[in-house]
């Protein structure tokens, strides 16, 4: 197998292993009784997992500035949605 072909298989497998390892951390912590910050930890793990998928699988880092801006703007608008909706809810 050529080095190029080996990289085609090995790199996604390494990311896959990291995703599973991170998932195991979330699961293990969630199953420990009476420990604090469970939602915070599991959501932090999701952020890392999503970053791995976006960076390594979807190759967002290698995409053009236009594409990266589009991805970023979607998250910015989503944050507006959450911010304004929560503001409305909190001030009723």
């Amino acid at each position: 197998m050529t080095p190029e072909r080996r990289a085609i298989v090995v790199k996604p497998l390494l990311v896959w292993a990291a995703l599973i390892g991170l998932g195991a951390i979330s699961l293990g912590y969630a199953l420990v009784p009476a420990v604090p910050f469970k939602p915070l930890l599991s959501l932090s793990v999701v952020v890392i997992q999503a970053s791995l998928v976006l960076g390594a699988f979807m190759q967002l880092g290698k995409a053009s500035a236009l594409v990266r801006m589009t991805a970023l703007v979607s998250v910015v608008w989503l944050s507006f949605l959450f911010l304004m909706s929560f503001a409305d809810l909190a001030t009723r």
Binding site: A30, V46, Q49, V67, T70, S85
Partner: protein, 211 residues
């Protein structure tokens, strides 16, 4: 990748680079609308959980952690196999591409089968909010299960659409046009990974919330 196959051009494009840029940009614009679409659901989840945390956790405790975790493993694995397929197509390594596509189809189908089995289990335990024997009265638990059914069905529809696109790759391989149409593979892969990321978020929200 430096040695991509010669791409099949579609109008109005005259250069593969511009067609590729337009494809990736267009796909990400679509994904941006999907992020906002799913964001609305996640906002509902946050409000429901904050307004009745104990009822919500009680409802979440009944979610089938084993099947949810199996499905997470299946979907993470399918993202890896489709990535291998996509890169193999671009490197003109047809055999690995075919194995990756078939593995992705198998893993995606297994996800839906496990989900179907899980739905069957849920219904046998009356875990549907409008069922007369629904075991909870707390508002949080009712909202949890309403969210569970809505979001998992919406996700399953997205996954089914993704499976159709992946199956199309197999057909393109069969007719021998998959190499020149590697951009189709990239678009399919981007969509599939997005569906995977949504599930990565759903797994802790649905299956770890009540633990």
């Amino acid at each position: 990748m430096s040695s991509r196959p010669v791409a099949t051009l579609v109008e109005p494009f005259e250069e593969p680079e511009r067609q590729h840029e337009a494809m990736v940009f267009g796909l990400w614009l679509f994904l941006a609308t999907e992020i906002l679409f799913f964001g609305g659901f996640f906002f509902l989840y946050a409000v429901a959980r904050l307004q009745d945390p104990s009822g919500f956790a009680a409802g979440g405790h009944k979610a089938n952690l084993l099947l949810g975790t199996v499905n997470t493993l299946l979907l993470m694995s399918s993202s890896a196999t489709l990535t291998v397929a996509e890169r193999a197509i671009q490197a003109e390594w047809r055999r690995a591409a075919r194995v990756g596509i078939v593995a992705t189809l198998a893993l995606g189908t297994a996800f839906l089968l496990v989900k179907g089995f899980e739905y069957h289990e849920d219904l046998s335990e009356h875990l549907f909010p409008t069922m007369p024997a629904f075991p909870f009265t707390a508002v949080g638990a009712i909202r949890f299960w309403s969210f569970y059914w809505t979001i998992t069905l919406v996700h399953a529809v997205h996954l089914t659409i993704g499976l159709a696109f992946v199956a199309r790759l197999l057909w393109l391989d069969r007719v021998g046009t998959l190499g020149p149409r590697w951009m189709v593979t990239e678009a399919t892969t981007l969509y599939w990974h997005f569906v995977d990321v949504v599930w990565l978020l759903l797994w802790p929200l649905l299956y770890l919330a009540g633990r």
